[in-house]
């Protein structure tokens, strides 16, 4: 299996570069080492014995069906969950050793439907983490304006609006800007464009693709949409039932001989006679 092969290759590389028991790889900013996550009352773990390294500045897309463990994996990275077995390292430090608050302010997080605070203005939403980090007002305001420009929202028009006064696409833009608030090196995105209409979704995907290249952040992006994965990823990891079944560059992904990859590839050709 491809996942297993990849896992071994990683381990071998680690052993060559450093002899100690669990050293972080030089450019691996996030590392999952034989991670299992199970919940009480469920026989099958949500994530099973999974190892994965995410390198600095790559956009890793976690692809999989509902229930394949994608979101669980994201939540393990920012310590919303702690692994039942194994270790998750962020910047070489186990998440169990991180102060959860410090860790989360170090990692941007974007979710479906944005989860914006309805009682805050757009500016207050975007400036939340800098404010929690006690930035002074001038720095905070210029950061908010900068971020709104970055996601294509004119501050003079949008800064004082409330989330209820925005369209779905605009809300999602604010969600991205908020996640970038205090300039975190890592960005976790959980189906951020999933609830948008197809046209707006395509628009945001393209813009985000450009943005992610410009920002140079380490991004872990969860989706069940292969098209989106192919567009945004610098690397695609396919999950099935809590295990990695494929790990490749997007251009090689469609050639992988694995039933789950085939299933996803088949999903691209949904309209007979129309090639994707």
């Amino acid at each position: 299996m491809i996942g297993a092969r990849c896992g071994k290759a990683t381990m071998t590389r680690v052993n060559i570069t450093d002899a100690s028991s669990s050293p972080p790889m030089p450019d691996a900013i996030i590392q999952l080492q034989t991670v299992t996550y199970s919940v009480k009352g469920r026989i099958q773990p949500l994530v099973t014995d999974l190892s994965l390294s995410v390198n600095s500045a790559e956009t890793l897309v976690l692809l999989g069906r509902s229930g394949s463990g994608k979101t669980t994996l994201l939540r393990l990275i920012n310590r919303m969950l702690l692994p039942s077995h194994g270790t998750v390292l962020v910047d070489g430090k186990a998440t169990s050793d991180w102060d959860p608050i410090r860790l989360r302010r170090h990692i941007g997080y974007v979710i479906q439907e944005a989860g914006l605070f309805p009682h805050f203005t757009v500016a207050e939403n975007v400036g939340l983490v800098p404010k929690l980090e006690n930035w002074d007002a001038a720095r905070l305001n210029s950061r908010v304006a900068e971020l709104l420009h970055l996601v294509g929202l004119e501050p003079s028009e949008f800064a004082q609006r409330r989330p209820a006064q925005l369209s779905g696409g605009q809300r999602q833009r604010v969600g991205v800007a908020r996640a970038l608030g205090a300039d975190p090196p890592i960005l976790l995105m959980d189906e951020p464009f999933g609830a948008l209409d197809p046209v707006t979704r395509a628009e945001l995907q393209h813009e985000f693709s450009e943005l992610s290249h410009r920002l140079g952040k380490t991004i872990v992006f969860v989706t069940h949409d292969l098209r989106e994965a192919l567009l945004l990823a610098s690397r695609i990891v396919l999950l099935e039932k809590g295990r990695i079944v494929a790990d490749s560059k997007p251009q090689d992904f469609l050639r992988i001989e694995h039933p789950e990859v085939k299933a996803f590839t088949a999903s691209l050709q949904t309209v007979p006679g129309v090639s994707p």
Partner: protein, 210 residues
């Protein structure tokens, strides 16, 4: 004597009784809010205590008000004849709407918002005071409004145990079989209830964000 002439001739007395009534309600509401809102915040994370607290508060609501005043009279410290007993009873009545609305308000927040708050690195105290409470405020206030209107009504019965207020006229009027005297207590009490309802509704609308 027509109600109107009675009202004119006794206006100073009615005014004093109204003030007394308002005072009773305000004191009782203040105590009820100070108990029910923190208690509501406390039970959000504690399912066992939640069932118990909401259950007890519901039981108080089902006791007929006159009976509750009666029950309290023989109890030492909080009981006896007079205002103190009345305030205790009014507080017990006001608890449920405030407690229930505080709980509902705090728990009916969009899970995505709470997930985002946690993922952004807010502490649980910050989430409570900057996210949960502000978002629940409208619903909590609706509970306070319901409780206030109930308390204004129930407080008229407090006159039966010597707590004063507008109920004094109602009981006196019943004893004298005089509509004019009953109305001198009932009309200001009804107006107070309407006024409180409208004022709190206005504040509530300003605070509600959804």
């Amino acid at each position: 004597m027509t109600p109107w002439t009675f009202f004119i001739t006794h206006r100073a007395e009615i005014f004093d009784a109204t003030l007394e009534h308002v005072e009773l309600v305000l004191i009782a509401m203040l105590i009820a809010i100070l108990i029910a809102v923190p208690l509501g915040m406390f039970i959000v994370q504690r399912p066992a205590l939640r069932t118990f607290a909401l259950g007890v508060a519901s039981v108080f609501q089902t006791i007929p008000s006159l009976a509750l005043f009666g029950f309290l009279i023989p109890i030492p410290f909080i009981g006896g004849i007079g205002r103190r007993t009345a305030i205790v009873a009014l507080v017990l009545y006001a608890l449920l709407p405030i407690l229930r609305n505080t709980y509902v308000g705090l728990t009916s927040i969009d899970p995505a918002v709470l997930e985002a708050a946690e993922a952004m690195g807010m502490t649980s105290t910050q989430i409570l005071f900057r996210v949960r409470l502000p978002l629940a405020l409208g619903i909590i206030l609706a509970g306070i409004r319901t409780a206030t209107v109930i308390t204004i009504g129930v407080a008229t019965i407090a006159a039966a145990i010597g707590a004063g207020g507008l109920g004094t006229f109602i009981f006196r009027g019943v004893a004298m079989v005089s509509d004019a005297v009953i109305l001198a207590g009932a009309v200001p009490a009804a107006l107070l209830a309407i006024l409180a309802d409208l004022t709190l509704a206005l504040i509530e609308r300003r605070l509600r964000v959804h």
